[in-house]
Amino acid sequence: MEPLDLDLEEAELELPTDPTTMLNVGPAHPAMHGTVRCVMELSGENIEQVDVQVGYLHRGFEKMCERGTWSQVFPYVDRCNYVSPMLNNVGFALACEKMLGIEVPERCQYYRVILGELARMSDHLTCVGAMAMELGAFTPFLWFVRAREMIWDLMEEETGARLTHSFGRVGGMAHPPTKAFKELARATSDHVVKVVKEGEQLLLGNRIFLDRLDKVGIISAEDAISLGWTGPCLRASGVPYDVRKAHPYMVYDRFDFDVPVGATGDCYDRFIVRVEELKQSARIIEQALEQMPDDGPINADDPRVVLPPKEEVYNSIEGTIQHFKIVMEGLKIPAGEVYSYTEGGNGELGFYLVSDGSGTPYRVRIRPPCFLVTSGLERVITGEMIADVVPCFGSLNMIGGECDR
């Protein structure tokens, strides 16, 4: 636009010596999920420099874990990645089991896989939906959240809670599958895939949506690896690293599924990788439901860690004592350390546990995929336009609880 004061001498004008503007976004900005603050230095609309500040949701997870027993950690891990709590539950249970050297029965492994994949679906649905909503497409968000409700209904039927289940246990699960589990899981997964396909049509036919994602926020594979990115964000940059394929845990080596990878590592790739993974999760669920045995124990046969059945607790002295010891003293994990990793909703979810042999964890370190992905935000948005912050940030799927812990 032409300046209005054309007749002024340039020497009379007081121009700012520094042509950049500081802009603060967040933490209470709706697109910053309430927990991230970006202080940006702008030149016009271009982002010259950015300081990403996290920690607004630091809740002392690791300190709290050092206060209770090993089983009391489960509610806290639930609330780390609160979009897919089941994956965290299972990840933590696997870490403890690795330390104890026990393996849960096959039926439980399938059960964990199916619930975990459903949780992953709900994670990706939320991310994709929220990303669309932040770019102004409100309808797909409503559809995806409706599909997520179906998953939560199933979770509620199985675990008793919609969101924060605390359902994992060391050596098994809190409860065996309900009678209608397989039927429900199949119906839910089919429904979700249907909704995803519908939503995909809405979004991928939308020029505005695509233009705002395409070639925006590109990150190369080398940078992504160096930054420690894992999960869908790394795969979008073209690195086919998925813990489920690279280091199969539980029964993941028995399923036939693909690892979608992106080509350029832009926001569109991160979006489409998530959409594709939703379908792959449905494939895994289908195969797991077919292979899962209908009968058999859910909990490992190990009286050191697994609570006895309630009939024994009430009717026999051995059962009472065993229950009392596990609940009051906590289960004893042999002294040592372990790093166990699984594929969480946003990438490699690792648990580094240090035990001193007592019933209380000495140190529980969660390796948060989100934290590292968010650390790359600075590199992703530097040099982009201010309007690109929202799609870039949305495509990284920062989950506050996991990022700040």
Binding site: V54, D223, S226, Y339, Y362, R367, L372
Partner: protein
């Protein structure tokens, strides 16, 4: 596979590798803090190791040991699929003097994880470009994940409202809410 890794590091650095062990299938080496960065660079660049990702970096506090802190890094190679845990011990018993080289110019992921480690444990990373607090606010004093930091000691940024019985405001009755904590909050330095 991972044993060969340990051997490679041992043959390269010899005495700098203080201990090795393998527990639950995780190969671990304990190294001298002085060669921390050299070993990381070796792990990243050597043809046999190719550890291109620093998966995790944290610390563990053992208050009655000297050196007090164990800095723990997990390296991983996406190309070769192997992993290694490297530990170094730093710091005096009183928590001072915990210093180690920064890996931030070798691995991008080290940047924030080292900041977090400094924030939570007070381990200084020499050569880090921007060693600020990350999870706590700059005004915070102390390092909360040290075992001698009381879990409930708060350091509020905003003064609490000026009303009676702030610990349990109506409609919460005395018998409501949590049975532990709450009244026992030891306030931070500004009240003492």
């Amino acid at each position: 596979m991972a044993e060969a890794l340990v051997k490679a590091v041992q043959s390269q650095f010899g005495a700098a590798v203080l201990e090795t062990h393998n527990q639950h299938g995780d190969e671990t080496i304990v190294v001298d803090a002085g060669s921390w960065k050299d070993i990381a660079a070796f792990l990243r660049d050597d043809r046999r190791t190719q550890m291109n990702m620093l998966t995790d970096l944290t610390a563990v506090d053992y208050p009655d040991r000297e050196p007090r802190f164990e800095v723990v890094a997990h390296f991983c190679s996406l190309t070769r699929g192997h992993r290694l845990r490297v530990k170094a011990r730093v710091g005096f018993e009183d928590g001072e003097g915990a210093e180690i080289d920064s890996l931030a110019d070798l691995y991008g992921s080290a940047n924030w994880m080292e900041r977090e480690c400094w924030d939570m444990f007070g381990v200084k990373f020499k050569g880090h470009p921007d060693l600020r607090r990350i999870l706590m606010y700059p005004e915070f004093e102390g390092h909360p994940l040290r075992r001698d930091y009381p879990a409930q000691k708060i350091q509020p940024l905003v003064p609490y409202r000026d009303v009676d019985n702030i610990e349990k405001l109506p409609p919460f009755g005395d018998d409501m809410g949590m049975s532990f904590g709450r009244q026992t909050h030891a306030f931070g330095s500004h009240e003492e």
